[in-house]
């Protein structure tokens, strides 16, 4: 069986383990699920490493390579957060998210092709890595927003009884959690945008030329910028707090849609044909 299939299966098993842990909260399952997730990460990292060795260049020269790297980053960022916060069901969905990304990668052309000269740059390396970490954080905030929206109508004001639950973040507080995750990811996105501009200047002579791919990465940045500023506005606008939280969660879902559009959806734009940066156009 190929490495990618094993990785996919481990992601699924990890997801099931996280659901199991929600039903029978025990320390054993906790560690087992986290262990499985870390195993999936290692396998995913092995895929990335194997690919870069086989291809002989950093693994982001085409969509296939970028996607497996993206999945790897998502898992990595999730694991960091799992150590910092006492997460609940998030791992189950984060695992599914990484799995879907990998699954999407299997649909792509995986031929190793030589990389074009413009991609041979250290700026590009920093650019992609920071971007992927940013995207990964937004992926996790997407998951927490979904859980928040789903859980909100059900778990109204149940009080955590046991001490174990006290420490945990309950889904009804996931709005604050989402904010923290976005706040973690946003500097990476900003660094990605800036290093991308510097790299473009070096390679194409202009740090910004309103190329569709550039424009969409700006749109992504602006979307999260709005998210970060709205908590300053909403209190002034007599919208009740719980409604505001729902609106922000929905905005995060939309923003993650924009992220994915910037990443892979671009190719469907009429202007993509003469973009210098769209995957697979050349």
């Amino acid at each position: 069986m190929s490495l990618i299939n094993i990785t996919l299966i481990v992601y699924v098993v990890a997801s099931i383990a996280y659901i199991a842990r929600e039903i029978w909260p025990s320390a054993g399952i906790r560690w087992a699920s986290l262990g499985l997730f870390i195993l999936a990460f290692c396998l995913n990292l092995a895929m990335v490493t194997k690919r870069s060795i086989e291809a002989g260049h950093p693994p982001f020269s085409n969509l296939y390579e970028s996607l497996i790297f993206y999945a790897c980053c998502t898992t990595f960022v999730y694991i960091i957060f799992e150590f910092v916060y006492n997460f609940r069901i998030v791992g189950a969905l984060a695992s599914v998210l990484s799995m879907l990304i990998l699954l999407y990668a299997t649909l792509q052309d995986d031929t190793i092709r030589p990389i074009m000269p413009a991609l041979k740059s250290n700026w590009m390396l920093v650019h992609v890595v920071t971007y992927m970490l940013g995207y990964a954080a937004f992926g996790i905030s997407f998951v927490t927003s979904i859980i928040f929206l789903v859980a909100k109508p059900f778990v109204k004001k149940t009080h955590g009884s046991s001490r174990e639950e006290e420490k945990e973040i309950l889904p009804r507080n996931f709005d604050k959690l989402s904010y923290k995750i976005v706040a973690f990811g946003f500097p990476f996105l900003t660094l990605g945008l800036v290093t991308g501009a510097v790299w473009a200047k070096k390679a194409w002579g202009d740090y910004w030329s309103w190329d569709p791919k550039e424009t969409w990465s700006l749109i992504t940045w602006l979307a999260y910028l709005v998210y970060l500023h709205t908590p300053l506005v909403l209190p002034k606008m007599n919208i009740n707090k719980s409604k505001a939280a729902v609106m922000l969660a929905i905005w995060l879902l939309i923003s993650f849609g924009i992220v994915n559009f910037t990443f892979v959806g671009m190719n469907y734009l009429p202007s993509a044909e003469d973009s210098a940066h769209v995957y697979g156009s050349k």
Binding site: P114, W204, W210, T215, L232, P235, S271
Partner: protein, 621 residues
Amino acid sequence: MKSVKNQPGIQEKEISGNIVQMSRSRVIQNKKDDSSKIWEFFCSVKLAVVIILVMVVACILGTVILQERTLDEYTARYGYGLATFFRVTQLNNVFYSYWFSFLLILLCANLICCTIKRWRNTFLQTGFILTHLSLVLILIGGVVKFQLGVKGGVNVYEGKTVNYFLTQMINRQGKMDYIKKDLPFSIALDDFILEKNEPKYQLVSYVKDKDRQKVLEVKPGKRQRVPGSGYKVTIKDYIPDAELKQEPINTSDKPENPAVFVRLFGSEDLAAEGWLLANARNSYDDKKQNLRVEYIWMPSQEELDKAVSSVGSSQAKLSVTISDHTQDYPLELNKVFKIEGTNYSAKMLQYVFNYGDRRPVGEQPMDNPAVQVEINGPEGTETRWVFEKFPDWDKMHPSKYKNLKLTCSGIESTHMAKNTVRFLHSPEGKQVMLYIKDKRIVETIPWELGKKYTISGVGSQIMVSDYFPAFDFKQEVVKKSDEIGVPAIFVEVEGPSGKADDWLFSNNQYATWYTDNNLALVYESTGDSIKHFTSKLRIVDNGQTVAEKTIRVNDPLKYKGYVIYQSSYDPEAGNFSGLQIVKDPGIPVVYSGFGALCFGVIFIFYVKPFLRKKTKKEMEE
């Protein structure tokens, strides 16, 4: 970081503080009410959010609507009405439109005002001030670039010097304008090097009934399944530089595949020689002497006798097969004919003797004859090339009218050289040589093996030196060298009709089909891509060389505020180097903005929370 008790957002307390401050200022400065309202407006986060959202919409429009194209392009794509609408609203150039500039100015004002208003000399505010002002810097830098910067390109040939470049823009009439800009120095291209990657090869499979194409691994020895089908493919051998050696042999005394070896002599020396196969490649054209040599096998003595008295050659024709019924049409250009049994019509547009050859038809060798056909039917018009030698070409290449199979034959006969020597041969052993000049038989001579005959009108001599009744090739694949030249793989396919194997050559652009005609394999180069290209440049200012550098992508040359980038190359011959020339005095401003922005966001989201937590802990203690 474990505590989540804080409100999301950046400090609500201070905001309410601002509101209090604002209302107090209202009481005190009643007269200045209006101006303070404006001030508040420019300071508000609400304005910021609105501006950003409008910018998002503008950006989306700017990528969905094609930007900066010629008026003709807009009219063709969107129709006249929309094209005019885009021009009036500047939606054809969103990012340089007046309204977008207005938006950016508003954004700038907002950023400056809110920063002034919130200015506190506390260390914790560093990030807030840096990020907001960095954006102002970047915008100012952008304005400088727009006002004082130039960007253009020039193609330089090796050994040549240029002192100008061209910029491109759409003028008011919606047409593309090239403007020549002079450089205050000149650029000499001393050397241009285009380095290609070693070509890579891939094995592509195509399963016809699934219409699915997939790249297979090229790993000798590994048995792999063609995805989505039951076929299994094993690569049994690989030769990096292979050659197919073909040795002609005779396999029988019966005329199963008659062939003659013909030698053509100039005044004295051998001019050309080769096999002519009656059933396949049965002619040779000597363009210089306008001479054609043909070898024709006649089915019987009577047929031969008939042929000796008339020139008549076979007719070129196009055959159309639709649901197993085949109909022939004589080759006639530009005549529309109805395809029998359908409501399609077709038209032959042109024919060539060697597809892809740019010379006039008459000068082309008879290597790859093809006809271009236009088909009209319910799904619209389709033009398709039909190749005489590759009747299965259209199976491999999806087309609109898949149900129509087109083949052609006899295209050669459209061409009649001035002089023709025709060797006729019949089963009874009768051998006649015809010399045809201007479509009339001039001479009729019985020919014999090994005898030279003079072609009177041309002045050269001809001889049939060998005859194989059952011509065949003994084929052998040999290794020419260890370097990568023409790689070939020996592939075994297992499928419903058993095992089959064959050599696949990477220089064969046509597919090899498995016996059931459902699986095709192509072993091909993925195209030789460019590894890098570099230009050795010399800057000459006032007649003196002042700078020298070999530039490449990602490594430009800078001189007097101009930056010269390697941007492209001559894709056809690799003769010229495409340079991009940029002058942007705004760069230092923009880059300081970039630096401040990066530092600012890191401060706000990583440093500040960390410092906060620390002071909080200290206070608790």
